[in-house]
C-alpha cells in the first residue's frame, strides 16, 4: 500500500469511528465528524457545480442566447440576500415550480395511475383454456402409452407422470389455479380497500368502515413486511462498514482501528473523569 492509501485508510477509519461514537452518546468526536462532513459535502457540491454545471452548461455553452435566461433566473434567486428586492426571486420560484408541476402531471398519469391500473386488472376467477385442456389430454395419453409400453417403474413413465401432473394442474381447476386466483382476489381486495381508506369526504361508518378497516389491515401488513425486508439491506450496509473497520486494523494499515479506538476511549474516559462530558447530553 502506498503512503497515500495508508493515510486515506487512517482518515476513513477515523471518520467512521467518530460517527459510530454517536451510538454511545453525543461527544466531541461526533461533533468533529459531523461538522467536517457538513463542510466536505458543501465543498464537494461546489466542485460539482463548477465543473459539471457552470463550465459545461454555462461557460462553454454552444449558444449563449439560450444560457442568458436561466442565469437571470438564477441571479434573481440570489436577490433573497437583499430584502428590499427579494420579491424578484418570485419570478424564479414561478419558473422552477411551474416547470416541476408541468413535468409531474403527465408523468404521474403514466407511471402511476395507468401503469398500476393496468397491473391491477386481472381475471379474478380463471378457467382452463381449451389449449390447456388439450395439452392435458395429450399428456394423459402419453402417460397411458408409456405405462403400457414400459411398465410402471421405468424412468420414462416417471417423467410422463410428472408431465401429466403438471398438465392436470393447468388443465383442470386445480389447487394451483385456485391459489393463483385467491392471490389475484386478495390483491384486488387490497387495492380496493386501501383506496377506500383514503376517502376523506365520507364519514367512516357502516360498510365504509368495514372496508376502510380492511384497508388499514393491508396497510399494516405492508408496513411490517417492508420493514422486515429492509432489515436485510441495512445489515448489509453495516456489515460492510464493520468489514472496512476490521480491514484497517491490520499491520498493513499500520493498526489504524485499534490505535484510533484506544485514543478515542482514552479521551472520552478522561473527559468523563474531569466532568467535561456532562456538558454533552446523552440520549
Amino acid at each position: 500500500m502506498s503512503f497515500g492509501d495508508i493515510a486515506g485508510l487512517w482518515l476513513a477509519t477515523g471518520l467512521t469511528l467518530f460517527l459510530f461514537s454517536f451510538l454511545y452518546r453525543d461527544n466531541p468526536f461526533y461533533k468533529l465528524g459531523e461538522h467536517l462532513y457538513l463542510g466536505v459535502t458543501i465543498g464537494y457540491m461546489l466542485v460539482k457545480l463548477v465543473y459539471e454545471t457552470w463550465i459545461p452548461k454555462v461557460w462553454n455553452a454552444e449558444n449563449y442566447a439560450l444560457v442568458i435566461p436561466p442565469v437571470i433566473i438564477g441571479f434573481l434567486l440570489l436577490t433573497r440576500f437583499v430584502p428590499k428586492v427579494s420579491w424578484l426571486s418570485r419570478w424564479s420560484f414561478a419558473f422552477i415550480i411551474g416547470y416541476g408541476s408541468g413535468l409531474a402531471i403527465p408523468a404521474t398519469f403514466t407511471s402511476i395511475i395507468l401503469k398500476q391500473a393496468e397491473a391491477t386488472t386481472r381475471p379474478l376467477v380463471t378457467v382452463p383454456t381449451a389449449a390447456e385442456q388439450k395439452a392435458l389430454e395429450a399428456a394423459e395419453k402419453t402417460l397411458a402409452d408409456t405405462r403400457a409400453a414400459r411398465g410402471n417403474e421405468a424412468p420414462e413413465t416417471r417423467a410422463a407422470e410428472k408431465a401429466a401432473l403438471s398438465a392436470r394442474r393447468s388443465g383442470t381447476y386445480s389447487w394451483v389455479r385456485a391459489y393463483a386466483d385467491v392471490t389475484t382476489i386478495i390483491l384486488f381486495l387490497g387495492v380496493f380497500s386501501v383506496l377506500f381508506y383514503f376517502f376523506f369526504s365520507i364519514e367512516h361508518k357502516g360498510p365504509v368502515r368495514i372496508f376502510s378497516r380492511v384497508g388499514v389491515l393491508f396497510l399494516m401488513i405492508y408496513f411490517g413486511a417492508s420493514y422486515g425486508y429492509t432489515v436485510m439491506g441495512r445489515f448489509a450496509l453495516l456489515y460492510d462498514r464493520l468489514l472496512d473497520v476490521r480491514k484497517a486494523s491490520g499491520g498493513d494499515a499500520w493498526f489504524a482501528t485499534p490505535i484510533i479506538l484506544v485514543l478515542m476511549i482514552g479521551v472520552l474516559v478522561w473527559r468523563h473523569r474531569t466532568g467535561k462530558a456532562s456538558e454533552e447530553p446523552s440520549h
Partner: protein
C-alpha cells in the same frame, strides 16, 4: 420474572446496538458457514450459462453503482469476475456511473491479479464515459469510438484483445450490476434487446422486485439478487467470500431482531396485567 421483563422493556437501546454490532462482527472474525444457503434458479441459470461458455468467449461487465450500493453489489461483481477468470474468458469492464469508476477498477484489478490474468490480453477496464444511454447506443455501433482509450489511456487499437471486439454484438454475454438507472433496465432496453446480446445482471435488494419482470420474461439469462444472491453465487463457485460471511452476519442479526421483538412482546403481555390479578 416480571421484574426481569420490566427491566428488559426499559432496556437502554445502546445494549441493542452492542448486540447488533456483535452479531455482525462475529462472522467477520470467524465464518460460521450456516447451512441452508441454496442457489435460487436465476443464480443457478447464470452460473450454468457461464460454465457453458467456451474458453476465450468475450464478456462485458458494467459496474453501474456508486459507493452507497457497494456493499450489496461489489461481492457479486467480484464473484462474476472471478468466475470469468477461472473460465479464461475475456473480460471487458466499464461503468456508467462516474462515482463508481474507481470501485469497478478495484474489483476487476484485484480479482484479475489473483487469477494471474494479463491486462490487455485477458481483461480490459474501459472506465467511465458520460452519456448514459448514449454510451450504450454508441457501443452498438463502435466501442472504439465511444472509448478511444481505456482507463490507463492506452489506445484501444493497441490493446490485443480489443482487436476483434468492436461492437456490442461481439460479446457472448453482457452484465450489468446496477443500483438504479442507468443500469440493468437501460442495458436491456437499449443494448441487449436491440443487438440480441445475451444479458445477465444483478441488483440491490430494493430493486429485486422490479427486476423480477425481466427474469420472468427471459430477457436475462440469469440474475443475482442482492447480497444473498451473491452469497448463492459464491456457494456455486465453492468459496466463502464477503457475501457468504455477510449472510451469516445478516442471519445472526435478523434472528437477534426477531428474538428481541418476541421477547419484548412476551414482556409486554406479562407486565400488562395490573398487579394482584392473575
Amino acid at each position: 420474572m416480571r421484574e426481569l421483563f420490566e427491566k428488559l422493556l426499559k432496556m437502554d437501546r445502546r445494549w441493542i446496538f452492542l448486540l447488533v454490532g456483535i452479531a455482525l462482527m462475529v462472522p467477520i472474525l470467524k465464518p460460521l458457514k450456516l447451512p441452508g444457503l441454496k442457489a435460487s434458479t436465476p443464480v443457478q441459470d447464470l452460473y450454468t450459462y457461464i460454465e457453458g461458455l467456451p474458453e476465450g468467449s468475450k464478456v462485458l461487465i458494467s459496474f453501474d453503482f456508486d459507493p452507497a450500493s457497494k456493499p450489496e453489489l461489489e461481492p457479486m461483481g467480484a464473484a462474476i469476475v472471478r468466475h470469468c477468470m477461472r473460465k479464461k474468458l475475456k473480460v471487458v469492464a466499464m461503468t456508467l456511473w462516474v462515482t463508481g469508476a474507481s470501485l469497478a477498477q478495484r474489483v476487476v484489478e484485484s480479482e484479475a491479479t489473483a487469477a494471474g490474468a494479463k491486462y490487455g490480453e485477458d481483461y480490459v477496464y474501459l472506465g467511465w464515459k458520460p452519456g448514459n444511454v448514449a454510451v450504450i447506443t454508441g457501443m452498438r455501433e463502435d466501442i472504439h469510438v465511444v472509448f478511444p482509450k481505456d482507463s490507463k489511456q492506452t489506445d484501444l487499437s493497441k490493446i490485443p484483445m480489443m482487436q476483434d471486439i468492436r461492437r456490442l454484438r461481439d460479446f457472448d454475454l453482457a452484465f450489468s450490476f446496477a443500483a438504479g438507472s442507468p443500469g440493468l433496465d437501460t442495458w436491456i432496453a437499449y443494448g441487449a434487446d436491440k443487438e440480441k446480446v445475451k444479458m445477465g445482471g444483478g441488483s440491490t435488494a430494493v430493486n429485486v422486485p422490479s427486476m423480477a419482470v425481466f427474469v420472468q420474461s427471459g430477457q436475462l439469462v440469469g440474475f443475482i439478487g442482492a447480497l444473498r444472491g451473491a452469497a448463492e453465487y459464491e456457494l456455486l463457485m465453492n468459496f466463502s467470500g464477503t457475501a457468504t460471511r455477510g449472510m451469516d452476519g445478516i442471519a445472526l442479526g435478523s434472528y437477534l431482531v426477531a428474538a428481541l421483538i418476541i421477547l419484548a412482546n412476551i414482556g409486554y403481555w406479562l407486565t400488562r396485567k395490573p398487579k394482584g390479578v392473575a
